[in-house]
């Protein structure tokens, strides 16, 4: 695994992503997903909302990094509220 040049932060990052995917898979098996129409006017399931959250969070982090000079954890706070909003209304 040396050639992959692992670091603790990136390993933790992928660990969290994997854990999230597993959690959502288990949730989907226990409580089957029901598609619904949200503010975007498209049909989304729980998995779709997770994808929108993760993709959006990536862009929020990049925008934070590029536009502001504030510490990066601020972006994570924004992402948290973004995630809540996505799961509530999208």
């Amino acid at each position: 695994m040396d050639w992959m040049a692992w670091t603790w932060p990136t390993a933790a990052f992928f660990g969290i992503i994997a854990a999230t995917l597993i959690t959502f898979t288990v949730l989907a098996i226990k409580y089957p997903e029901v598609p619904r129409h949200g503010v975007l006017g498209i049909e989304t399931t729980r998995g779709d909302r997770l994808f929108i959250t993760l993709l959006g969070s990536a862009f929020i982090n990049l925008a934070w990094l590029g536009l502001l000079s504030a510490p990066q954890w601020g972006a994570l706070v924004v992402c948290f509220f973004y995630a809540l909003a996505v799961f509530r209304w999208v």
């Binding site: 040396d2 040049a5 670091t7 932060p9 992928f14 993709l55 862009f59």
Partner: protein, 290 residues
């Protein structure tokens, strides 16, 4: 009718998962690892944090390449999609000529990217190329190695030549699947040619058209070989698209960290646009009730 639910069927996708893991997921994870570190070769890495992302976001070079890339994709889509539909509408519907047309249309699709590049590179040369020589003889100043506009026009015409057939073939397949009854009804209503296209043909081929747009967008957004062979990204940086710039950075300069950060942002943009296309496509399908 009730569908049979068999969760064990998921195991059938395991081979694909393994394949994708080795061809995409593991390399992508490595790229993420590279993006937060610096290296001078020898497989030695030093922690750099988010420095490369910051550098890339501030880099004019990346924004310029992204701008050129978006312009290129927009231009070729704006030409290839209408042109492809136009060609498909005018193709014979059946018989010998239909088969001949289909074979001729597929020919450009069979040619490897680097060969297409070489064909156009020679075709456009002022000294020995048919196109370049003819244009020069007509007194038109055309030189894709020195003139930015000539370079762009060559790269765009090349892409249109290479890929319009794909759009045309997909649109043709869509058109063929429309039952005759629709046309007969239109005839009874005395609908004009434009109305037949607007209210019968276009809605019916929308599904395949979205696939054509998605395929052409993704392919053009990742384009590397053809412009690289023809212009090498020049003159200056005029046709240096994202992937050409990325290869220059990663392999030419061996700046693995910045190149990895660049790749991740490139990937995110593709993911976002593809997701939007995909969502629009599936929602169209649902509305149409396919």
């Amino acid at each position: 009718m009730n569908k049979t639910v068999n969760q064990k069927a998921w195991f059938l996708i395991l081979p694909v998962l393994v394949l994708v893991a080795f061809s995409a997921v593991i390399p992508l994870m490595t790229v993420v690892n590279y993006s937060v570190q610096d290296t001078f070769g020898n497989n030695q890495f030093f922690w750099a944090g988010l420095e490369w992302f910051e550098e890339m976001l501030d880099s004019e070079r990346m924004w310029d390449a992204l701008g050129r890339q978006l312009a290129f994709s927009a231009i070729i889509l704006a030409i290839e999609i209408p042109l492809g539909i136009f060609v498909a509408l005018n193709m014979p519907k059946s018989g010998f000529w239909a088969s001949l047309c289909l074979v001729l249309m597929s020919l450009p699709l069979l040619i490897p990217w680097n060969v297409v590049g070489t064909i156009w590179q020679i075709f456009g040369r002022v000294d020995i190329g048919l196109l370049g020589h003819t244009l020069a003889a007509m007194g038109i100043d055309y030189n894709y190695t020195q003139n930015i506009y000539a370079a762009w026009i060559t790269v765009i015409v090349m892409d249109v030549w290479h890929w319009t057939s794909l759009v045309a073939l997909l649109a043709y397949a869509g058109l063929q699947s429309i039952p005759d009854a629709y046309y007969q009804a239109a005839k009874i209503d005395q609908a004009s040619r434009w109305k037949v296209f607007r209210f019968i043909e276009l809605p019916k081929i929308m599904g395949v058209l979205m696939i054509a747009i998605l395929l052409r967008f993704m392919d053009s957004f990742m384009i590397y070989t053809e412009p690289f062979v023809v212009t090498g990204g020049g003159p200056g940086n005029a046709t240096t698209f994202l992937s050409i710039d990325l290869v220059k950075m990663a392999l030419g300069q061996f700046d693995l960290g910045p190149a990895a950060a660049f790749s991740i942002m490139y990937y995110l943009v593709i993911l976002l646009i593809s997701y939007v296309f995909y969502t629009v496509m599936t929602n169209l399908d649902k509305r149409e009730g396919y």
